[in-house]
């Protein structure tokens, strides 16, 4: 369970709800464009301690077979995970 991207963007009068109430977790834009650097996880080094997962403010690190992976649609490249990873399994790479 997690907010996720939808195709439909309500814009017209009919699509806009009557009250300020709408489906929870409805996403229509990504945050990828915010990033200058991206975290890259070296799965060979990762020990699955989940500290990066715990401390990511955006919650974009997820568990993947006892290892972890990043949802680059929403990672902002803050670099917290890189600092948190005690074994140095994460490095930040320039986006360009």
């Amino acid at each position: 369970m997690k907010p996720y991207l939808r195709d439909f963007v309500p814009q017209n009068l009919e699509d806009i709800p009557e009250a300020t109430a709408y489906e929870a977790g409805y996403l229509v834009t990504k945050n990828a464009g915010w990033r200058n650097v991206r975290p890259v996880i070296d799965n060979t080094k990762c020990v699955g301690c989940l500290q990066c997962y715990l401390y990511c403010p955006d919650g974009v690190i997820f568990q993947d077979d006892n290892k972890v992976d990043v949802d680059y649609n929403f990672c902002k490249g803050c670099g917290i995970c890189q600092k948190i990873c005690k074994v140095g399994a994460i490095r930040m790479e320039a986006e360009k």
Binding site: G33, W34, N36, G77, E95
Partner: protein, 176 residues
Amino acid sequence: MKEILWHGRGGQGAFTAAKLLGAAFALRDDKSFALAFPSFGPERRGAPIRAFTKLDNKPIGNRSEIEKADYSIFLDDTLLVSSSLDELKGNGKIIVNTKQSFDDERIIAVDADSLAEKVLKRPITNTILLGAFSAVSGEVEISDIENAIKLYMPQKLHAKNIEAVEQASRLFKEVK
């Protein structure tokens, strides 16, 4: 009226550049008018933002965002996308901070990062692009920009940024 659109990320100083440009232009005499404003909104540090400068020789009544620009200036080339060209007026130009080169003559590339590294010792390219704009467009004199910098930047940044503006401008003057 000349309309200049600025693109950057929060913290890169796009709006400062927009404002300096407006001040440089408008304070030079009584017949020059300018508006400068950021894109308004809850955008946070890191998010792409826009800023606007309008220059004219009569008071400017239209406070709306610029839809089609004479110049669209990018402080960061990751923000430059193909649809960026749609934001230009017919003879509009893009000025972009980049190490790449483009074979579209509407796009003017400036390696502002390198110049910033050299002159400012910090990766802040806004005044460099302002210098570039001055040289490319001829809309505003370097001296007016320097005046604006002195008025609206903190004292300790004056010298370096004036230097940056001048060097950037020279870059183009030479090329031309």
